[in-house]
Assembly symmetry: C2
C-alpha cells in the first residue's frame, strides 16, 4: 500500500523524538499500521537544525504555509506550539483537506472549538493524544475506552515540572524557590517557568480532558487556576503529619448544574496511588459510573514519550483517513451535534473539603470561637491539630481538615474567622480531595 506522507511543522525536542522513534521502530510501526509512515517534509525557521535532524531524503523548508498546502502531504504534524502562527497553520491545513496531529494543548484549550468545527466541516481528522499527559494514552482511554460510562470526575497530575518540585519540597523539606532552581538546573523547569508553576499548562490539559469526558465545549477561559508558587513547605509537612500529600491537580467534575474545572494545589490521602506519583511523572485518575476508578500513569513529557503519542495518532489517522468520516471516532468523543452547552461553574460554587492553617493567640476560648463559626457555616471538622505554643511565644498554629462544603460557605466562614481579633493574618487554605 502507498506510504503516508507526513509534513512536520517545528523541529524542536518532540519533533526530533518523532523522527527518531519513527526511524528506529519503522518495522514495528509498519507491521501495525499496514503501510509505511514517513516524514517527507519538515518546516522550521532553523533550517540548519532541521536539515541535521531530518537527514537526507527529507525536504526542508522555512515556509510552513507551503507544507500545509503541499498536495503530496497527507498528514500535517504541528509541533510549533502557542496559538499564533500554529493556529493559522492548523486552520490552513484543515482548509486544504489535510489531517492534523498536534501536541499543542494551548491551541486546543483556547481555540479548540473553532478548530474542531472547521475539521468537522472539512471532513478531516485532528488528533491530539500528545496534548495531554505526554505518552500516556489518556485521550484514547477517555474517548474510546470508557465510552460506556458517564464520567463523573477526573483528577490528574498533568504537569511534570510542578510534580517534581512538590516531590522535592516534601522529600527534602526545602522551600519552593530553592527547589525551583534545582529543577531548572536539571532541566525539569524552563528558564521562565511561569507557564508550568502558575498552573496554566495543567489548566490547558484539564480543559481538553473535560471536553472529551463530558461532551462539553472547551472553556479554558472559565477554568480556575492556581499554581504552586505560594505553597509553604510548612503546609506540606503538616499535611504529611495528617496522612496527606499535596499535589497540583487538574480537576474536572461533572455536576447537573455545570462542570467544575480547576487547577490548584490539593491535599490527597497518602494511601492513594495518585499521592504516590513522584518526580516528573504524570497520572490521571478517572471516576466513571460503570467502571469505577481507573488510573493511567506514565511520563507526561520528554522527546520520546511525547513522540509515542504523536505517532500513535499518525497510525490512527493512517488507518482511517480514507474511510468515511462517519466511521471515525468523533474528535471530541461525542458526536458534534451532541455537545452539551454546560457551563463551567464559578469557583465559589465548587464542592470540596479544606486544609486550614491559622495563626492564633495562645489563650483559652480561641478554638471554641473558631469552631463555632465553622459550625454556623455548616463546615464540619474532620481532623484538628492545635500546636503547643513554642517557648516564649504568645501565638500558635491551628491546623484543621474540614468535610465537604460549597466554596462560598468556606469563604464566608474564613472571612469571619480572619476578623476575630485572636486570629493573626490570613488563614492558609488548601483544597482537599478524598478521590473516592
Amino acid at each position: 500500500m502507498k506510504a503516508i506522507n507526513v509534513g512536520l511543522l517545528g523541529i524542536g525536542t518532540v519533533g526530533g523524538g518523532t523522527f527518531n522513534v519513527l526511524k528506529r521502530n519503522e518495522e514495528e510501526i509498519t507491521r501495525r499500521a499496514g503501510r509505511s509512515i514517513r516524514i517527507t517534509t519538515v518546516a522550521d525557521k532553523n533550517l540548519e537544525l532541521a536539515r541535521k535532524v531530518a537527514g537526507p531524503g527529507v525536504k526542508v523548508t522555512d515556509d510552513a504555509f507551503a507544507v500545509v498546502a503541499d498536495p503530496d502531504i497527507d498528514i500535517v504534524v504541528e509541533l510549533i506550539g502557542g496559538y499564533g502562527v500554529a493556529r493559522q497553520l492548523v486552520l490552513a491545513a484543515i482548509d486544504n483537506g489535510k489531517h492534523v496531529v498536534t501536541a499543542n494543548k494551548a491551541l486546543l484549550a483556547v481555540h479548540g472549538n473553532e478548530i474542531f468545527e472547521a475539521a468537522q466541516k472539512r471532513g478531516v481528522m485532528v488528533a491530539f493524544e500528545a496534548a495531554v499527559a505526554g505518552g500516556i494514552p489518556i485521550i484514547k482511554a477517555l474517548r474510546e475506552g470508557l465510552s460506556a460510562n458517564r464520567i463523573e470526575w477526573i483528577a490528574g497530575i498533568i504537569n511534570g515540572t510542578t510534580n517534581f518540585i512538590l516531590s522535592e519540597m516534601r522529600d527534602k523539606g526545602l522551600p519552593f524557590a530553592e527547589v525551583l532552581k534545582e529543577a531548572q538546573a536539571l532541566g525539569y523547569a524552563e528558564a521562565d517557568p511561569t507557564f508550568d508553576i502558575e498552573g496554566h499548562d495543567a489548566a490547558h490539559k484539564a480543559t481538553i480532558m473535560s471536553a472529551i469526558a463530558f461532551g462539553v465545549p472547551m472553556q479554558f477561559e472559565a477554568a480556575h487556576i492556581e499554581g504552586i508558587t505560594c505553597l509553604d513547605s510548612v503546609d506540606i509537612a503538616y499535611a504529611e503529619q495528617l496522612g496527606y500529600r499535596i499535589k497540583l491537580l487538574g480537576i474536572a467534575r461533572m455536576r447537573e448544574e455545570g462542570i467544575e474545572l480547576r487547577v490548584h494545589p490539593t491535599l490527597v490521602p497518602g494511601k492513594r496511588l495518585l499521592a504516590n506519583v513522584e518526580g516528573a511523572m504524570n497520572a490521571v485518575l478517572v471516576q466513571a459510573d460503570a467502571v469505577g476508578a481507573t488510573l493511567y500513569y506514565g511520563k507526561g513529557a520528554g522527546a520520546e514519550p511525547t513522540a509515542s503519542a504523536v505517532i500513535a495518532d499518525l497510525v490512527d489517522v493512517t488507518r482511517l483517513h480514507t474511510a468515511d468520516p462517519e466511521h471515525r471516532v468523533p474528535h471530541l468523543a461525542f458526536q458534534p451535534d451532541q455537545v452539551r452547552d454546560l457551563k463551567v461553574l464559578p469557583i465559589s460554587e465548587i464542592i470540596t473539603s479544606y486544609y486550614l492553617r491559622m495563626r492564633v493567640d495562645d489563650k483559652p476560648g480561641v478554638l471554641a470561637d473558631i469552631t463555632r463559626i465553622l459550625a454556623d457555616s455548616g463546615l464540619s471538622i474532620e481532623a484538628l491539630i492545635q500546636k503547643e505554643a513554642a517557648e516564649g511565644e504568645a501565638q500558635t498554629d491551628i491546623i484543621m481538615l474540614t468535610h465537604k462544603t460549597v466554596e462560598k460557605n468556606a469563604d464566608a466562614a474564613l472571612a469571619l474567622i480572619e476578623a476575630l481579633p485572636v486570629v493573626r493574618g490570613r488563614v492558609t487554605r488548601i483544597r482537599m480531595e478524598n478521590l473516592q
Copy 2:
C-alpha cells in the same frame, strides 16, 4: 441512523451488567456512538432469568445457535465462557458474517489463533477488551495507544481473587487457607477457586497481552504457570522486611531469542505503584522503548466494570463495522501477515532474580559453603538475612535476594545447596522482578 442490533449469549453477572449499563447510559452512549445500540435478543439456558433481566421487548431464547444465525443481528456478544460451546458459537457467528464481542479469555488464549484467522478471512471484527483486566482499557492501550513502541515487557496484576488473598495474608499475617475461606465468604473467590488461585486465569490474560504487544501467536500451552497455593505467609513477612511485596504477576517479555510468558508469585519492590495495588484491584505495567513505563489501574472484574469494556467494544464495532476491513485496527494489533513466529522460551531460559529461604544447621561455615556455591554458579547476592537461631533450636533460616541470572543457573545452584548436609529440606524460591 439505523440502530445496531446486538444478540447476547449468556445472561450471567456480566450479561446483566451489560444490560444495566446500556440502559442507564443509553443517552450518553448514543451521543458518542452516533447511533443507538440495543440488545434485541438474549440466549440463555435459564429462560426465566433471561426474561427477568432482559425485560419486555427483548427476544429470549435458549437456542444460541439461532441467535448467531439471525440475519437481524449485527453483533454477537459472547459471555458464556469456557471453550466448548462458546468456541462453536463464536466460529458460527463469524461464519455468518457477524461481528463478535467477547469477554472470554480462556477461549481466546487457547483458540484465538483459529478464531482470528476465521474472522480475518470473513472480514469481521472480534473485539475483546473485557477479556483482560475487566474495565481497564488495556487492550486498546497496547493495540493502539502504544503503537509507536517496541513493547519490551508487561507485568500485570490481572487476577483480583489472588491479589485480594495476598493483600489479606500480608495485612493480617494469616495463612493462605484461612484467607481463601474469607475470600469465598466475601464473594472474591469462587466455590471452586482452582482456576484463579492456580494462576490459569492470569495466564490466559498474559497470553492475550503477549500476542497483541509483541505480534506473536497465542501460545497459552507454552506459558509457565504457578499459583499462590504454596505460598507461606512467613515469606510474605520476610519479603516485607526486605522492602518487597509478593504479588501474583502475569509477565510477558520480548527477547530476541523468544518470549517469556509466565505467571507466578513475584517479589516486587514495595515502592513501586504495582506493589501498592491492593485488594481485588488490577493493574498492568507496560515497559516500551519510546514511552518508557506506563501503568493502567482499575477494577479487573465485576458486572459493571466488565460491562464497561464490553460496551466500549460495541461502540468501536458500531463505528467501524460498515467500513472497509483495511480501515480497522488489526484484531491482534499487528497486520495478520506480520505476525512473527517467535516461540515462548522454556522456564529454564528465563532471566530473573530470586528470593531464597533455606533452613540450615546453626553452625560456623554454613553460610560460606552456600555463598561459595552461588558464586560458582554466577549468582550474586543483593541482600541477605541470617536469623539468629531461636532459643534451644539447632537450626535457623537464611534469606537471600539474588541478582539476575538465567533460571537454569539458579536450578543448578539450588540443587547443589539442597545437597549440602547442613541444609534441611527444600530451598524456598520465589522469583523477583525489579520492574525497571
